[in-house]
């Protein structure tokens, strides 16, 4: 059994009148058990050359629906360093391809997913940003 942890720390010395220092760690386990997850896609990195969702080419598939059992943990980061070079992540398995997240340059997200949706990414500004991501959980 592997032991994998995710730790988030949010801090600021001047956003509030008191110092902000929030830190928490969760151990990534198989659903409803204390058994650690054992599978990962590894850390991926690709350049996004698509400027639209739907049938346009150059989109990046981050995760394919039901590839992992619930819960699958997605970490994703927009590697661009120029503000405004956004990456849109959309749900390709739902009618209308709704956009789920917009990552500006340098943004990252960490999402425990149900795992039943296909996520793809494009960059509406045509800036060809790089994206990094990893999925961890239980392959099926």
């Amino acid at each position: 059994m592997a032991t994998t942890t995710a730790t988030i720390t949010i801090s600021s010395t001047d956003l509030l009148t008191d110092e902000l220092a929030l830190s928490t760690t969760c151990t990534l386990t198989k659903t409803t058990t204390s058994t650690g997850i054992e599978d990962t896609t590894g850390l991926n990195r690709k350049k996004i050359t698509s400027t639209a969702k739907g049938t346009a080419s150059g989109q990046i598939t981050l995760y394919t629906a039901d590839d992992f059992a619930a819960i699958a943990y997605l970490y994703v980061k927009n590697i661009a360093t120029t503000a405004g070079h956004k990456i849109y992540i959309y749900d390709d398995s739902t009618s209308g391809d709704p956009i789920q997240f917009q990552l500006d340059a340098g943004d990252w997200g960490f999402i425990p997913m149900h795992g039943d949706k296909t996520y793809k990414a494009y960059s509406p500004g045509g800036n060809d940003p790089d994206i990094e991501w990893v999925v961890m959980g239980t392959d099926q």
């Binding site: 592997a2 032991t3 994998t4 942890t5 995710a6 730790t7 988030i8 720390t9 949010i10 801090s11 600021s12 001047d14 956003l15 509030l16 902000l20 929030l22 928490t24 969760c26 151990t27 386990t29 659903t31 409803t32 058990t33 204390s34 650690g36 997850i37 054992e38 599978d39 990962t40 590894g42 850390l43 619930a70 819960i71 970490y75 980061k77 503000a83 405004g84 749900d91 739902t94 709704p98 956009i99 789920q100 997240f101 917009q102 990552l103 500006d104 340098g106 943004d107 990252w108 997200g109 960490f110 999402i111 425990p112 997913m113 149900h114 949706k117 990893v134 961890m136």
Partner: protein, 144 residues
Amino acid sequence: MATTATITLASADIAGDPVSVTKLMTLTKAGTTNDLDQSSGLNRVHLRSTTNKVLLGANAEGNDLAAKVYIINKSEDASLYVTVTINAQTVGKLYGGDFLFIPWSQTDTDADIEVAATNWTSSTGDIPVEYALFHEDTDFLTNA
């Protein structure tokens, strides 16, 4: 007025080589390097509803503005989970101890962040949930 969020993913044994990913993000206003300057603070609610409740209400002015959301299920019962939805789309499922951190794009006024204690019953006890919003719009208000 910099606020930073750092994530560390670590495992010594999930792969053949150790995994250690640490990334820091400075929370900035959309399309700029100016720091986000507003926050809801850390809130705590106790969920006892299997139907969706609005945790953070979307604001039409929020479209294309930056907002980051942190939500954690503080239940110590690993079987109790919280479903997180945006625009009626499930975006996350948090079992006890799990957290999420996402940029929140309020593409329209239906983009509320809603939560439900999906498998709650009167015998399971409440599910404590903590959350914080970091944003740039003066009109965002939490209504939980």
